[in-house]
Each structure stands twice: as structure tokens, then as C-alpha cells.
Symmetry: C2
Subunit: 293 residues, 2 copies
């Protein structure tokens, strides 16, 4: 347990844990009766990419643990080029912390890692929240070269967080305004920030997406083995990992509730953070064996 | 306003309202700060088909008004063979009550009528809950002759509510157990019951479904005109009106949240009544212009 406690991802100090052969950066804060909630991050995202409006609200009912995987930010090592390889780092980290069970919020890439971990060691998670993600064998996962994304990623006028506002939010006035507010919240942390990810991180993570799109045997059949209560969340206009992937998840996972948000893209949890954190807290506080909450 | 108040659809007396050229049976009970919630019923269902576990819980925060359309139960008149015709009866009833605005829960057939009303007179509804229903132009709406339904509907050993348990719930032990509990709850009302629907009701309503499957112009384009905050709900294994219809609704309605339930069919709101009523109450209590709650 950390001796340093803070209620916000804007101010909480980054900690470091040596486990297996790596040193992992992480942040841990909040308190309450719930199991700790592990946050697994999106493509190229670091600890600084977690919206305090989401983390801080959830941290009022339980500890939250934001994890920086190998090769990102100040964590040592190399970014694996498979989801399975990434899952190994999370296991090493949790084993190093001495946590035998927790809840998990996996966003995008992080949701794939959470599924892999739930398959390999079911007891590691009690309840899972999968946001803007896809099952193995899913489609159109992070194809950054498609026109709807490339027009922003290739725009030299857009730099840093401005790109996020475009690609995480829908092209409507209301969604872009929510995106601007999200960027402002991310920018509040001014000290003890993580280095941003470079091309090597992107390249390895994109290779993992391409591998995750492949499947053998009956498509999505392996999802029946993930029997945890699961909350699946997706923005209805997600261009990065389209909502069809969440339809497949909730139809093939035996115990999953699906929640979709209107007028939003990949960052729906940040756009509707008040709703999302209320729904997530209600889901996490339930001890039913059924997902509905 | 009724002078008779009761907290349960198991015991509340049926009332009658003369409006336009008909006498409509209805039940009205509950109280609280919310707008009244109008319940629009499913194929062949009468007032007695509303699960008290749903109505009574929702009635703790607002009045609920259960409506019996023309030609059903003790309401006079003839069942229309179009959704538009059915909407006219609801308008006549609400005008007769003097209600200029309310919330609505439209289940299955009732959800189609609610959409039609929201198109014709947007001010009639503040917020809408659409459960197990389909947009105009939807697919596979109540095709009772398909094998997955016909095997139960044509089984002479299944009579009355036993059929409902089979066709409203998924073929799993847990869902069928929830179905048995639902049937037991419906059976608690022993006095002042409505006559069950006969073949003429079914025939007219099925004609309305066939008409609702037709569309002109761009498919689902008219949904953009329904700008109310909407909560769309569907069981993931709904054989009567498959979940694809709710995917279309939530993708084409500009301001709709989708919630799907696992391990459940058409009657997901009854199977997971504790979750459904909690979600519905949270949605209805919101006064945001956005659907997320």
C-alpha cells in the first residue's frame, strides 16, 4: 500500500514497482469499501491520459490503480507486439503488488488485455468494464490509415492533445465541446508527468491489433469462457474501434450488459463522464453473480 | 385524477375514460415528483400483462398510467391494423385525461406506437423508454411462424401464461426460472381482470407489424426527427424482435442510450426487473437534454 494518498490523477505522485524484470510506473489513490479498480490504458496512452473526471469520481468508492505497461512512460522494457505479451506484464505487476483479485476497467487496447487476462486467470478479476474495445477476431480495429482517421492524424495543424480531441470525439459541436473539456482536464497535471509515447510504442501496439483481428476456430466462441459479470461500453460513432465490436462482445460473452452512448466516439466515457462514472460505480458495487445492476 | 390510489398493479382498480368515440380501460397509481409514465403494451397484452415488479417499483417516484387500447380487454372499439391508427387512440386517451405531456415506456408493439407519437406530436413526451421494439423498416418483427417461436406457440401442452414463459425468456435455466417468477407475479391479481385477447386482436396487430416493416426513402432516416432523450433496452437473445432492431434504433436516433441484457429474451425488463427499474428511474429523474444518465 502506498503511504502517499491523493484524491486526483491531477496531483497524485507516480510510484514505481520492481517486479519480474521490469520497473513499472503506476498511480494508486482513492479509498472505499470496493475492491481496487485496475485501469488498463489505450493505444499510446500513458498515465497522464486518464481523465481525472473519470478516475477521481471512481476513486471515491474504492482505490484506483493506473498501470503503465512496459515500454510506456517511465516503465522500463519493451512494448510487446501481442496482447498476450502485454497481459504478462499486468500479471507481473499485480503479483508484485500482492493483489490476487481486483476489478478492471480496460479501455480500447486495455480492454483486449483485460479479456486475455480473464481467459488465462479468471480469479484475477471479480467484475470487468470493457470500454471501446473488441473481441479477438473483431473488425476494423484501429486502422489509422482509413480516411476518417487519417485526415486528422495527417493534419500538420493538429498536434498533441488536439489530435485526441478530433479522433476520440464525434464531429458534432456538442461532442467536440466535450472533447475540448477533456483536453483541458488532462492538461491540469503539470508536474511529474510521463514522457509521451514515440513511434516504437505505436508500431508494436499496432502489430498487436493486427494479431488480435486474427482468429482460429469458431469466431468469438472463446468468449464463452469469460464468465465474469461484464459491463461493455461504446460510443455509437466510434471510428477507432466501431460499436459492432461491442455488439459482438455483449452477444457472445455469457454475462455482459451493453451500454452505448449517443453523439460520441472512442472517448464516450470521457464525454459522458458523469453518466459513465455513475454507471460504473453502480456496476462495481453490485455483488450479484449476474451482470445487470 | 383518480380518487382511488393504490401502489400495485396487483390490486389497483381498473378505471374507464370516455374519449373521442371510445371507452378506454386504464389503471393509474403511484405518486412522486416525476411526470406520469405512460405504459404502452405488447402484442395481445392487456393491463394484466404488466409485471407488478416493474410497475410498482417505478410508481414509487411518479404516477404510472397503464393504457388499454381500443379493442383490447374492456376497452371498446376495434383494434387498428396500423401503428398510426393505434397512436390515434393513445392521443385521444391522453387528451381525454387532459395530459399534455408525460414520459412513456413503450414495450414491443407499444414502442412502435411511442415512436409514431413522438414523430407526430413531439411535445407529448419528455423522455421515452423503448424496450424490445423496432424502428419502422426494422426486420424480423414478430414472425410467429418461425421455428424458434412456432415450436412453443403450436405446442398444445402450453396454455396461457406458460407460453409467455417460453417465448419471453431465453432457453436457459436461469432465464426460465425468471420467467416462472414473472408468471407467478402476473397471476397475483385475481379480481377485476381484463378479458384475454382473442384471434381478432392478434390478426390486426400482426397486420400492423407487417406494415411497420415497410419503409420508403432512406431506411431509418425519419428517426432523426425523434430528438427526445431515449433509453433503448433489449434482451440479447430476443427471438420475437431481435436486438438488431435496437442497434438500428440507438444508431439512428440522435439522442438514445442503448442497454442490453444478457441471458434474456423479449421479456428482459421482467427478468432483470430490479436492474431495469433502477435504470429506468435514473433515466427518468434526469432533466438533462442528453439521454445519458
Amino acid at each position: 500500500m502506498s503511504s502517499e494518498q491523493s484524491a486526483s490523477n491531477t496531483t497524485v505522485p507516480t510510484q514505481f514497482l520492481q517486479a519480474s524484470n521490469e520497473t513499472y510506473a503506476y498511480r494508486r489513490f482513492g479509498s472505499g469499501p470496493g475492491l481496487p479498480l485496475l485501469f488498463l490504458q489505450h493505444f499510446t496512452g500513458t498515465l497522464d491520459n486518464w481523465d481525472p473526471a473519470v478516475t477521481d469520481s471512481i476513486a471515491t468508492g474504492r482505490e484506483v490503480i493506473l498501470f503503465e505497461s512496459a515500454g510506456l512512460g517511465r516503465s522500463t522494457g519493451k512494448v510487446p507486439d501481442t496482447i498476450t505479451g502485454m497481459a504478462k506484464h499486468v500479471f507481473a505487476f499485480l503479483d508484485g503488488l500482492g493483489l490476487t483479485s481486483c476489478d478492471v476497467l480496460g479501455f480500447s487496447l486495455g480492454g483486449m488485455i483485460a479479456q486475455q487476462m480473464g481467459q488465462e486467470r479468471p480469479s484475477i478479476f471479480r467484475r470487468m468494464i470493457l470500454v471501446g474495445t473488441a473481441p479477438r477476431g473483431g473488425e476494423d480495429i484501429m486502422h489509422l490509415d482509413k480516411p476518417s482517421l487519417a485526415k486528422y492524424l495527417g493534419d500538420p495543424k493538429l498536434q498533441g492533445y488536439s489530435v485526441l480531441q478530433k479522433i476520440f470525439f464525434a464531429p458534432t459541436e456538442s461532442s467536440q465541446a466535450a472533447g475540448a473539456a477533456f483536453i483541458e482536464r488532462l492538461s491540469r497535471r503539470t508536474q511529474d508527468r510521463e514522457p509521451a509515447s514515440g513511434p516504437a510504442v505505436a508500431q508494436a501496439q499496432l502489430a498487436a491489433f493486427r494479431d488480435w483481428e486474427k482468429f482460429t476456430g469458431q469466431r468469438f466462441a472463446d468468449l464463452k469462457n469469460i464468465q465474469h459479470p461484464i459491463l461493455v461500453v461504446n460510443g455509437i460513432h466510434d471510428e477507432m474501434i466501431p460499436v459492432q465490436n461491442s455488439y459482438w462482445l455483449s452477444a457472445s460473452l455469457p454475462n455482459a450488459v451493453l451500454l452505448t452512448y449517443p453523439d460520441s466516439g472512442h472517448g464516450s466515457l470521457f464525454q459522458f463522464h458523469e453518466s459513465f462514472t455513475r454507471q460504473a460505480a453502480a456496476f462495481l458495487v453490485s455483488d450479484s453473480k449476474f451482470a445487470p445492476y
